[in-house]
């Protein structure tokens, strides 16, 4: 079981990294979106490995479907023929970007792995806690959905409501922004 988990993790991780890199480095924007979808799907696999089945499903719904569709639509709205030229920015910042990303990565790893001393040991400040028996039972029967639902409607009900208002606002806002500018351009 352990080995299988490791195997899956390795597979997903590999796919995630490769496809994420592909999403960034592909010359064609559609290719990168496809690559991005693969990334999202693999991430949902990682979620499954992490006992987060609800998250995995939501990931597929929101990211792999919703956002992707939005992206594809906007690509369809905006793309012109010579968009393929817009690949990488060959500016001083490109070089700096690698430096920044690399050093940030080193910093993160430095922190995560207890300053490079022990690769396998968990961060000092984090205490690994085994779940209760009842939770394991619940997970086996119904997954994490009940736990999240309970949390959302009790402890985090206020953020949840705020979030819904945010989403409402975004819907209206997005419509207004896109429409208004459209009118202006037509008037012009």
């Amino acid at each position: 079981m352990e080995v299988l988990q490791l195997l899956f993790f390795g597979m997903f991780a590999l796919v995630i990294v490769i496809s994420a890199l592909g999403a960034i480095f592909c010359r064609n924007i559609v290719h990168s979106i496809v690559s991005l979808v693969i990334t999202f799907l693999s991430i949902s696999g990682i979620f499954i490995l992490l006992n987060a089945d609800f998250l995995a499903i939501t990931q597929i719904i929101i990211y792999a479907v919703g956002i992707t569709i939005l992206l594809i639509f906007s690509v369809m709205f905006t793309t012109t023929k010579d968009d393929n030229k817009l690949w990488l920015a060959f500016a001083p910042r490109t070089l700096l970007a690698f430096v920044v990303a690399g050093s940030l990565f080193i910093l993160l790893i430095f922190n995560i792995t207890n300053k490079f001393t022990d690769f396998n040991k968990n961060p000092e400040s984090f205490i690994i806690k085994a779940p209760k028996e009842s939770t394991i039972e619940l997970l086996k029967e119904q997954g994490t959905t009940p736990i999240i639902g309970k949390q959302l409607l009790t402890k985090y009900v206020l953020p949840f409501e705020v979030l819904s208002i945010l989403l409402l606002g975004v819907i209206i806002g997005a419509a207004v922004i896109a429409k208004k500018e459209n009118n202006n351009s037509q008037e012009r």
């Binding site: 609800f54 690994i128 779940p131 939770t135 736990i147 922004i177 896109a178």
Partner: protein, 103 residues
Amino acid sequence: MELGLVHYLILAAILFCIGILGVIISRNIIKILISIEIMLNAVNINFAAFANFGDLDEAKGQVFAIFIMAVAAAEIALGLAILIACYNNRHSVDIEDYTSLKG
């Protein structure tokens, strides 16, 4: 070798750095948005990992991951709306053309 928290964190770190790289080096605005999504996903992985290894009873990490997804969706919707509005003005998705901040 046992699969531990550290592995997920490293994965998330790699993904996050790829996102940063993408944000900086891309010229296409859509690609920048894509990179931002990748970074958000990296964060989500972290949340889920911490929830799994420390707090499965309450799964707070997963709750926040859901919040992030919602906000990310909102963000991408708004971002793309703005992108389209901008595109209508300038007919370009090239980030180099959007330099009105120039001092």
